[in-house]
Amino acid sequence: MSKTVKDAIETIPTDEINSISLSLVRSEILTKVIEYCKKHNSAQMSDVDLMDWDVEFANVHYTTLFDLVLSANYMNINCLLDLVCGKIADMIKGKTPGEIAKLFDIKDVSTYEEDN
């Protein structure tokens, strides 16, 4: 599922593989990523159940979401990237710029009025 890992496996000769370096991913986040990959690779759940599971999985604090999005990007896992980006977008939808800035703790709010 992770293209980064796949590429690493394919380029390093097999008898030299002991560990693959994923230095940019913290252990707590890596645990979550592995949990996601395992769930999506097992054929046990129906599509509908899997979608429900995804919703639950992504129901975390936004800082975790950002860690997940960076990890999914670094490890090149497209479906996880899609899921988390969609979740972050959902948090933005329907909110005024003021509300968005407050939610994500965005500093230096511009007072420039854009004509939409």
Binding site: H61, Y62, T63, F66, V69, L70, N73, L81, D82, C85, G86, I88, A89, D90, I92, K93, P97, I100, A101, F104, D105, I106, K107, D108, V109, S110, Y112, E113, E114, D115, N116
Partner: protein, 416 residues
């Protein structure tokens, strides 16, 4: 209360921000420009620009106001956007002036855009500006309610993989030239068209073909990659049998050009067209890849039944079958006698069909004979779903129950 670093979101890499913003409407994406100075132009690298009814909040403003607002928004976005534009879609109920669309199209051909979708909801066919025909970066072109008149210098879209034309006007030679000069074309959709009646599809890489409209004839050339085909002939023509006596079958001519076909849908009156000519018992080559077949059939026409059976007989790997009854308003000509089933059953090969769906039958004899036949010759049948026509009587269920089944596992359900 969190002691996390503030404002992480603003430091996310650009393409991730693009990814997040692409889940929002263009309106909300552009609105992020006011979040902070960092966010001023984050939206401007969005690869996909979609302008549809979500664009402007329609708060009971008058038409002219909505039109001019939409125009301003698109002008604004196109002017401030930076980077490549992968997709541009314009589909709004109150569409704007023709000169605006011309201008935007010209701008987009310079970007160059890869996917161009234009839907004109109301009014006359919009004449596509000449500049679009020189946009060689196009991979996907989708037009609704447009008039295409390529210039004489048009040499095709070199990179076009997918073409979707609905409610379009196009001259016969322009149509043929368009199809045959897009060498990479893989998907073609044509719905409700005028200006051309003869469909000659010459396309070496075509894999998906979906068409619904009025035409006189259809032929394929060099289309050995076609895997998914759906054809609906929306006009009930009068077949002149004497003229076609002895002529080779349309069905044979049709299938011989589609050696790798996997999914086939025969809709409206197309089966009647295929049944013209002499329908053979065996095809020159069987359709070994055909696994899904859907047919709209007139059970009162024995020629159509012949054609359907020919398909079934020569598709050894068919798994799913859908039969939709076509009720005819006109009385059937006397020449069409009842279908002779004894000859058919004498040497019928084993069918591997697993799922069958039958829609719109009312219980007339030809329909029952057909269902009976299916049940008797499908030893691995798992499910058959029957949806009756509105005028079907209760005898239909009784008749269905009576039939012997070759497959002990077959589950026959009657959908009210």
């Amino acid at each position: 209360m969190t002691d996390a670093e503030p404002d992480i979101i603003s430091s996310l890499p650009g393409h991730i921000i693009d990814h997040i913003l692409s889940h929002l409407s263009i309106k909300e994406a552009v609105r992020t420009s006011v979040l902070s100075t960092k966010w001023r132009y984050k939206w401007a690298t969005l690869p996909n620009l979609v302008f549809d009814s979500q664009c402007i909040s329609e708060t009971s403003e008058d038409l002219l106001d909505i039109k001019s607002k939409l125009s301003r928004i698109i002008d604004h976005v196109l002017l401030l956007h930076s980077g490549p534009i992968r997709k541009f879609k314009l589909s709004h109920r109150e569409l704007i002036g023709v000169t605006d669309i011309d201008r935007w199209t010209l701008h987009l051909t310079r970007r160059p855009v890869k996917e161009f979708v234009l839907e004109i909801w109301k009014g006359q066919r919009y004449k596509i500006p000449t500049c679009l025909f020189s946009c060689q970066g196009l991979h996907h072109l989708e037009l609704f309610n447009c008039w295409l008149k390529p210039p004489s210098t048009f040499q095709g879209f070199r990179n076009l993989k997918s073409l979707d034309l609905q409610h379009v006007t196009l001259a016969q030679d322009a149509f043929e030239n368009l199809i045959s000069s897009c060498p990479l074309l893989e998907r073609l959709t044509l719905m409700n068209f005028d200006g051309f009646n003869h469909l000659n599809i010459r396309s070496p890489n075509l894999q998906f073909f979906d068409i619904g409209g009025k035409f006189d004839d259809i032929s394929f050339e060099n289309t050995s990659q076609l895997a998914v085909v759906s054809i609906g002939l929306y006009v009930n023509f009068e077949s002149n049998q004497s003229r076609l006596h002895g002529r080779s079958s349309n069905l044979v001519e049709f299938l011989i050009r589609l050696p790798r076909i996997q999914r086939l849908e025969i809709q409206s009156y197309f089966l009647k067209y295929l049944a013209m000519g002499v329908v053979p018992v065996k095809l020159p080559t069987p359709c070994i890849d055909l696994s899904y077949l859907s047919i709209r059939i007139n059970f009162n026409d024995s020629k159509e039944i012949s054609a359907a059976l020919c398909l079934l007989r020569n598709s050894p790997n068919l798994r799913e079958l859908e039969i939709l009854a076509r009720p005819e308003e006109q009385p059937v000509p006397i020449a069409h006698h009842a279908y002779c089933w004894e000859e058919v059953c004498l040497s019928w090969p084993v069918m591997r069909v697993q799922h069958v769906r039958i829609d719109g039958i009312s219980g007339i004899k030809p329909e029952l004979d057909f269902v009976n036949f299916l049940l008797q010759y499908s030893p691995v049948l798992e499910k058959m779903a029957v949806k009756p026509a509105l005028n079907a009587g209760p005898e239909l269920v009784k008749d269905l129950l009576r039939f012997r089944r070759a497959s002990a596992r077959a589950e026959v359900t009657y959908l009210d």
